[in-house]
Structures are given as C-alpha cells and as structure tokens.
C-alpha cells in the first residue's frame, strides 16, 4: 500500500512517476534527506512540497552559508542548489562541500536557469554530480533526484560493507575477540604509547585449562561455546574504553590492559579467574565448568626511567607466567614482571594479591 503522499504523486497528471521500477525504488529505499538551497522562498517552497510528496525529507536554506550551517548540524544525502545566490553562490558551496571531509558522500545536484553547455561544465567542475536547468520539466528534476537517491543508497551500502569487512578482518569470527592480525598491529602501538608517556602496560596471557579434554569429551560445539563464554566473561571484567582481548591460538588469549601496573593486572587476573570458575557454562553438551591459567606481565615505565621493554620480552614474560600457572595445576594467575624493580612475581593459588 503506497503512502497517501506517494499515491497523490503517482496520480498527479503533471508528475508522471507511474513507473514500476521507480515506484519500487521509492518503496525500498530508506528516507533520504535533501537540502534545497535557493534564495527564492517560493522556489524553495515549491521544490520542498514536490520533494516531500516524493518521500524525501526536506531541509531548506536561503543561502550558501545557511546551507553549510544546516549540513554541519545534520547529514543531508543530497544537496539541491541554485547557482546564483547572494553571499555564497552555488559553485562556492559545491567547492566547499567537496573540500570538507564528510562521513558520507553528499550528492550535489545543481539547479539553475543557466543552461548553456559551458554553465553545465562549470557546475560539474566545481564538484556537482549533476546539473539540471530550472526550465527542465519537474518530472526530469525528480528523476534526477531519484538517481541521486539510488547513488547515495549504494554509497551507504558500500560504506557499511567496508566497515563490516574491516571489522571482520581484525576479529575472530567465533568469539568476537580481536584476532592475531589485530594483536600484531596494535600491541606494538600500545607498547610505544606506554613508553612515550611513561605509562604502565599490562598483559594477561590466558589459556583454558584442559581444553583439549573438554573438546574431546564434549565435542567441538561445546568447546566453541566455552571459548565464546570465555571471551564474554573476560569482556565483562575489563574496561571497555581501553582494555581489549585477542585470540592468539585455539584456546589462548591475550588481554591487553593499558595504563595498568602489575598489581592492577593481578587484580584483574584474579577477578577473571574467579568469574571463570564461578558458574558453569551452558553448552550444546550441557553445563560445563572450566578454569583458566593466567600469566601476568607489565611494563611499569616511569617518567624518569626509560623503559627498555620490547614486545618479545613482554610476550615471553607473559608466557613464562602462564607456564608457571600451568605447572601449579591450572586455575592460577602468575606474574612474571619484566621491567623495573620486580623481576619475578607470583600470585598464590586462589589468592588475591599474593605477589612473591
């Protein structure tokens, strides 16, 4: 069922939009905002009324400066602008829109009484995507706007796909944690930032205890459920704004804690250890209890002491801590400090801050 406004438009003898494809487009495409810029109030009103009937959201501006102000407040997919206007003309407006970086593309359609080939070329050269004379039939103006709507819709879809692809490229598909690629790119940055500003940086190297047996005993689906629960529980215990987790192997994860010293990391590790062990995970094979071993390491650089830590040192230290926790039978968090005074620290089994 077409909305009333659209029915009116299709029935309107002066605007022949009774085209199946066009109608389908009008139905399918989400609301599209058009900014009508013209110094003539009646022209703005007439165009605005026509566009609303064609299901566009309409904003209007009496000058180029008005247009810029509106566009900085809300995104308009299409800019329908006159050429000759006081203060800022349509060409300058076009150039300004093209010069400003925007989150989404703005399709510019120039609408002018100037209708020579040279005018058209000048408009396009200024950054307009299309150019139509005011003397063109209203149907043509609407048809060109429909093209603009299609193009902005496609651009939005592409942008959204790109964003999703970028996310998938750095995300582990099973758990939603970051993947190894993300880790290898961003951990060096975290370390560099910590060294530049003399801030602490901690890492937790985590491994689910006896994961292979769980996988073999309960099946891969249950194992996958466990991995997902592991990440979800970890994410519930770390700061969303700065901390992050990456999956580095089958059941191995690295939790990165910027601005966190070894004591803070120890508290996080202990919290994680408890959260993992507290309640069983509902899986395809029933509820399963699990524990994890954690290795802790941290760079505790201070402003007056230049940290000499490198990434390999840091990862090796975290692995040493993890290995120590495993040797203690699992369900342990063991610190293996790298830099500054404390070279080797251990957290007792089940203990809170028992750093040796």
């Amino acid at each position: 069922m077409l909305p009333e406004r659209k029915r009116n438009l299709l029935e309107d003898s002066s605007v022949d939009l009774n085209d199946t494809i066009l109608t389908q487009r009008l139905e399918a495409v989400s609301p599209c905002r058009v900014l009508v810029v013209d110094d003539d109030d009646l022209v703005r009103a007439r165009l605005g009324a026509l566009l609303r009937m064609a299901d566009y959201e309409v904003e209007s501006a009496a000058s180029g400066h008005d247009a810029i102000r509106i566009m900085s407040a809300k995104h308009c997919q299409i800019l329908l602008t006159d050429w000759q206007m006081p203060d800022m003309d349509g060409l300058s407006l076009c150039r300004l829109v093209r010069a400003e970086p925007a989150d989404s593309y703005v399709y510019v359609l120039m609408l002018s009484v100037r209708d020579s080939k040279q005018d058209l070329l000048t408009g396009l050269a200024a950054g307009a995507d299309d150019y139509v004379a005011k003397s063109a039939p209203i149907e043509e103006i609407l048809a060109r706007l429909e093209v603009a709507r299609r193009i902005t819709h496609v651009e939005k879809s592409l942008r959204s796909s790109n964003r999703e692809n970028r996310r998938l490229a750095v995300t582990d598909a099973l758990t939603g944690a970051y993947n190894l690629r993300y880790l290898m790119k961003n951990l060096p940055r975290e370390l560099a930032r910590s060294q530049r500003y003399g801030h602490a940086l901690a890492l937790l190297s985590c491994d689910i205890d006896r994961f292979k047996q769980i996988n073999d005993g309960f099946g891969h689906e249950a194992g996958n459920d466990l991995l997902q629960a592991f990440v979800a529980r970890t994410e519930s215990c770390i700061r969303k704004s700065s901390d992050w987790i990456a999956r580095v192997g089958g059941d191995e994860f690295l939790v990165v804690l910027p601005e966190t010293d070894v004591a803070g990391a120890g508290r996080v590790a202990e919290k994680l250890r408890k959260v993992f062990a507290r309640t069983p995970v509902p899986t395809h094979a029933g509820a399963i209890n699990f524990t994890a071993s954690i290795g802790i390491t941290a760079v505790e650089a201070q402003h007056d002491i230049k940290s000499a830590a490198n990434l390999d040192d840091l990862l090796r230290a975290a692995d040493r801590g993890l290995y120590a926790s495993k040797k203690l039978g699992g369900n342990h968090a063991t610190a293996s400090g790298v830099i500054i005074s404390k070279s080797k620290m251990n957290i007792k089994k089940g203990g809170s801050n028992g750093i040796n």
Binding site: S112, L120, D130
Partner: protein, 132 residues
C-alpha cells in the same frame, strides 16, 4: 549527462486545480503581479534615464534572472522564456554601455510585461471558473 535544453510544457493555468499546490501558485501569481509593477516602474525610469541607465540594466538583469528561476519552477514557461530574453538583453546592454533606447531591452521588457499581464488575466479567469 542528460539534456539541459528547454522543453515545452503544458499551459500553467490548466494545472492549477490539479496538483495540490494552489496556495503556492497563488503566491507566485501575486509575485508576478508585484514584479510586473516593478518592471513597469523600471521601464518608466529607463525612459527617463538619458545619461546613465546602467543601474537600470543591472536591476532589470537581476529581476529577470530571479523571475526566470521562479517561473521555470512554477512551470510558467512563456514568462520564464521572456524573462530569460530580458536578462540577456540587459546583460548585452550593460556590457555595451547602451543608452536608454536599446531596442532589444525595450522589446524584451514590453513582451515580458504584456505576458505577465496576460498571465494575471488567465489566472484570474481560471480562479473565477473554479469558484463558479
């Protein structure tokens, strides 16, 4: 890139009652009347301006340009064409520093004023027949 050429359209008065834009059309008709008065005043000023009519050419150019845009969007094509002719004539006269007897300007001005008057009459007749 498609055509930007002018295309013939239906007579505007026949559409008044059809497309649901009556209020805007009435507002535009009122503007046509007001602009017609301005053009008549400017023609009187042009007739008197024997020494320096350039400001009148510029005013004619500005008003004709604006009128052409409005008339195009409101599909009053004959007025839009006449306004375009006046704008071009005024630009030429301005560039060539023509005097106040420039034939092209006068011809375009007279045509436009007459058309605007006719348009008013036609619009009034349509409105009267709709009311009746």
């Amino acid at each position: 890139m498609g055509s930007i050429k002018r295309r013939p359209r239906k007579a505007p008065v026949a559409e008044v009652a059809e497309d649901g834009f009556e209020n805007l059309r009435h507002a535009f008709q009122a503007r046509l009347e007001s602009e017609r008065v301005h053009f008549v005043s400017l023609s009187a000023a042009l007739a008197r301006a024997e020494e320096n009519p350039s400001w009148i050419f510029e005013d004619l150019q500005f008003r004709a340009h604006r009128l052409q845009g409005g008339a195009s969007i409101f599909e009053v094509d004959d007025v839009a064409r006449a306004a375009h002719a006046l704008e071009e004539a005024a630009v030429c006269a301005s560039k060539s520093r023509a005097d106040n007897t420039d034939e092209k300007v006068w011809a375009a001005l007279v045509t436009l004023v007459q058309l605007m008057g006719n348009n008013q009459g036609a619009a009034a007749a349509t409105a009267a027949s709709v009311t009746a």
